[in-house]
């Protein structure tokens, strides 16, 4: 009996421990899916960034044209402000030739 007890103590098989392998496998699968989802979202974001860059380039180009427009406006405003002094310094010949030029321009515009 005693020998049997000693032998059973020496060669006793360990109690099986639950290693939660299935649970860990499920968690790993979930994580893989989440990381795949992140990859897809990153691809979408890269595409969005490219589109944003294109739009920003278009905005920059528009700003350049706007600057040119501002310059044009400034020039025209300057011309407009110069008209009174320009007219004041004109003699009758200048006045008639300018009116004549205007009429010519206008008739061209009408055609």
């Amino acid at each position: 009996m005693a020998i049997a007890l000693v032998l059973s103590l020496l060669f006793r098989s360990p109690i099986p421990i639950d290693t939660y392998e299935d649970e860990i496998k499920v968690l790993k699968t979930k994580n893989e899916q989440l990381l795949l989802s992140n990859d897809s979202i990153n691809k979408i974001n890269n595409k969005l960034q490219k589109e944003i860059n294109t739009i920003l380039y278009a905005i920059d180009s528009t700003k350049v044209i706007l600057k040119e427009t501002e310059t044009k406006l400034a020039e025209l405003e300057k011309k407009r402000n110069e008209i009174p002094s320009l007219i004041n310094n004109m003699d009758s010949d200048d006045i008639t030739s300018n009116i004549s030029d205007y009429l010519k321009r206008r008739s061209k515009g009408d055609n």
């Binding site: 968690l27 994580n31 992140n38 278009a58 528009t62 009758s92």
Partner: protein, 140 residues
């Protein structure tokens, strides 16, 4: 010769018409009035050009605003996507924590089992040594 400025007999604000010997109808006015008319004409001409350029500027500004709106929409979408990425990473982290917790639990249980097994082995070995000695003592 009299200069045109000093030869004005027609008063300002007054316009007359005459028909010359060739049959042409001539409009007569004070030189200063002609200057006012020319000044207005030139100004209207420039104002027309200004109007066209202002319209162009307005169109460009509208386009810029529209493009900026598009950028805002896309940036918002990108930001939302980044938030989703963060949420996913948090979920991954949470899952990893659960995984670590489970593994810790397994390690702890296995440690306890190893210790228990060690104790039993010691008891077994002691028994295997003591049992023959006790048997011998009893027999003697």
């Amino acid at each position: 010769m009299i200069s045109p400025v000093t030869s004005q007999t027609i008063s300002r604000g007054e316009v007359k018409e005459i028909i010359n010997s060739d049959g042409d109808t001539l409009i007569l006015m004070n030189l200063e009035d002609a200057k006012i008319i020319l000044s207005d004409l030139l100004e209207y001409e420039i104002v027309d050009s200004l109007l066209a350029v202002y319209k162009e500027k307005d169109t460009l500004n509208t386009n810029t605003i529209s493009l900026q709106k598009d950028v805002i929409v896309k940036l918002t979408l990108k930001s939302e996507n980044q938030q989703s990425i963060i949420n996913n990473f948090e979920q991954v982290l949470n899952n990893k924590d659960i995984e670590i917790g489970l593994k810790d639990e397994v390690i702890e249980k296995q440690n306890k089992e190893i210790k228990k097994q060690k104790r039993l082995k010691i008891v077994g070995f002691i028994g295997s040594i003591m049992l023959p000695i006790l048997t011998l003592i009893v027999l003697i």
